[in-house]
Amino acid sequence: MVGRKENGSLAVSTLFEIVRPSYLLFPALLGTMIMGLVCPLIGSYLVLRRTVFLGLTLPQIAAAGVSFTFWLQQSGFLPQWEQSERGMGMFGSLLFTFLGMGILGYLEQRGKGFPEGRLAAAYAFAGGLTILFIVFNPAGQVEVLNLLKGEVIALSKGELRLVTGVFGFVFIAVLMFRREFLLTSFDRDLAFLLKGSQVIWDVLLYLLAGLIIAFGVILAGPLLIFGFLVLPALAARPLVSRMSSFLMLSSVLGVIMAFLGFYSSVRLDLPLGPTDVTLGCCLIFLAYGLSRVPTKMGAALLMLIFVGGAVTSCATRTAPAPVPTVKDIKKEQVWLAKVKNSTALPLLLPANNPLRSLAEMAGKISSDYRQSVMDLLRDDLRKGLEQNGYSVTLPEEMDARFPPFPADMNGAVRMAREGKLSGLVFVSEIWRWEGESQKFVRVLIDFKLIRINDGTVLWERRIQRAVPTPSATNSGQASTDAATAIVHDLFTG
């Protein structure tokens, strides 16, 4: 196949690229790792206290707070929060988390029912409320759902400072009072005898937990926060016999989980929360398997070696090849087919897209025509091919009835032959194009260069990732920037 080349070192550089401060998603990576460092410290105490379910219930209560605040705003009970949607979500998240903790604490004091029952009921109640508030607020459904998904990948530098401040404060507090937290988590009666009333330490621990949950839920989503709280601690537990090692290993595993999850998410275009949680569960299985190794230290080392191996194997994946050169294709004519949209969304650009206005002024499009992502991508592809010396022709120049070609080789070749084309056809098919924020667009697109007469695929490439669009100020510009970046990728490899 033309253009297929091995380039391991290029892929390794991709791994190290994400840890460079200049990398666009570096704030998101750093934020996730900070959460991965601090959350397991609090989670370890929840595990010791056998109140793991609290780590699930509180994030759900925080999520209910987010949807409640948006519903209030939509209903006109709250003023529009011009500065940031996340800021408003944080307010609701904090309010509900501390309110929920207060109610759960009161019920605990009353001693009615059993703790698991109370937490389970609170979880179900909060889950129900979250959905109901979203349903009440149809205008903001997408925004609220996006916030609750917790796209930590869109973390800005300002939000990173907030994460550092809040989580740093919690980290220092946990370090300062780790003995008191340990004592009250291990045995309350003994703790009482040594230090007197433990209420203050309970309240402080739960306040710190509430703080990271309330902020974490809005920045990373309930699932990821629950995962960070509990999974590293559960994975560390079978590997250590000392409390100090338990706390340390929990945090280390949290950071590893955060880094590996982030890397996989960016590399494979997977949502971060589920990816991290799945990795965390794998770490638990691995830890229990390794706990059979005779020495705990040996098991912990093996685990780190395994994780290191996983990172390395990811990094040494073969790098994608760029579009073949003109020399490679022996100067054959290239038909650039219309880009096929298989997303079930129209992918039309907003009407106020400045590019559209320019095109209208130039008389290139009529005023009732709306430009689409497919048009953008095809324009950029054409420019790219021509700049690289290709002889490019559009199929509709020969016959206006030509529809977009599918990326499926057989379908594309059949269509080209029916239209009596010869030479090469360049096909593109969009499976996903989601501009969830102005900072990046999630895409999944297949590109192929096919020889029509024998159906040979000379080159193919799948782009599946979050494409950063840092300078975009609206969704139309984000799509434009993303299309340019994707085409640039195709020609540079």
């Binding site: 045995d187 040594l194 537990r237 250590v240 000392r242 338990f246």
Partner: protein
């Protein structure tokens, strides 16, 4: 409170969920004394200890001399088998510095462990791996490591071998003599009470007797206390221990 009195209990009662589980308990304990508390199962002995320690709400007056260090050896200590805590860390919970302990404390710890028959080698073992008897030794060692002025033992020899029973009671005597430690002890064994206790308190939901064991423990009192007629007929709700 008199000068050598370290505990003064007046008309103490414990009511939980509307049920009176203990009432009419009044006694004093002087420094260096050994007080044994006896009574049938469900009589409220452990509950009285918990009230003395402030672990359960109570009515009446419980006045300790201010500033006392108190050691407590519970009857049962359920250890989560998966808690990653070594014996060394368990003791360090009582040290001034948990994460970076000083050598003086560690040397002292080795000495206290030897008193309860545990070697220094057990320090790195997880608490959850100890047998019942070893755990009981550990709890005694833990209670006495910071030389408390008062120690409360709730059936300290329950679940341990006969040989170690003697060790425990000799240890109690030694603590009394060498450290002038005041001992409050719950026990079912009357010979222990006669041998080691200066005072005895008979309990069966209320105080039945209090004084020198040789003076107050008459056969008929014991029959009343431990005999069929003396047992409190408690239902499931009233069952405390």
């Amino acid at each position: 409170m008199e000068e050598d009195t370290i505990l003064d209990v007046r008309d103490c009662a414990v009511v939980l969920d509307g049920q009176t589980l203990l009432s009419g308990v009044s006694f004093e304990v002087r420094k260096g004394e050994a007080l044994a508390i006896i009574g049938p199962n469900g009589a409220g002995k452990t509950l009285l200890f918990k009230a003395l320690l402030g672990l359960v709400p109570f009515r009446g007056t419980i006045a300790w001399r201010p500033g006392l260090r108190i050691g407590y050896v519970p009857q049962k200590f359920p250890v989560d088998k998966t808690v990653p805590l070594t014996i060394r860390e368990f003791f360090l919970l009582k040290a001034k510095r948990f994460w970076f302990p000083d050598q003086t404390f560690l040397k002292h710890l080795s000495h206290e462990l030897s008193l309860v028959g545990l070697s220094q080698e057990v320090l790195e073992r997880p608490v959850a791996e100890l047998s019942g008897g070893q755990l009981q030794r550990l709890l005694i060692g833990w209670a006495m490591v910071d030389h408390p002025e008062v120690m409360l033992f709730d059936e300290p020899t329950a679940g341990i071998d006969v040989g170690f029973e003697e060790t425990v009671y000799h240890l109690l005597q030694r603590l009394q003599k060498e450290r002038n430690t005041t001992i409050l002890l719950i026990s079912h064994e009357l010979n222990i009470v006669y041998r080691y206790a200066d005072q005895v308190l008979c309990l069966n939901r209320t105080m039945l007797c209090h004084g020198n064991p040789h003076e107050v423990l008459h056969p008929q009192d014991l029959a009343t206390l431990f005999g069929e007629g003396g047992f409190y007929k408690h239902d499931k709700k009233a069952h405390h221990h």
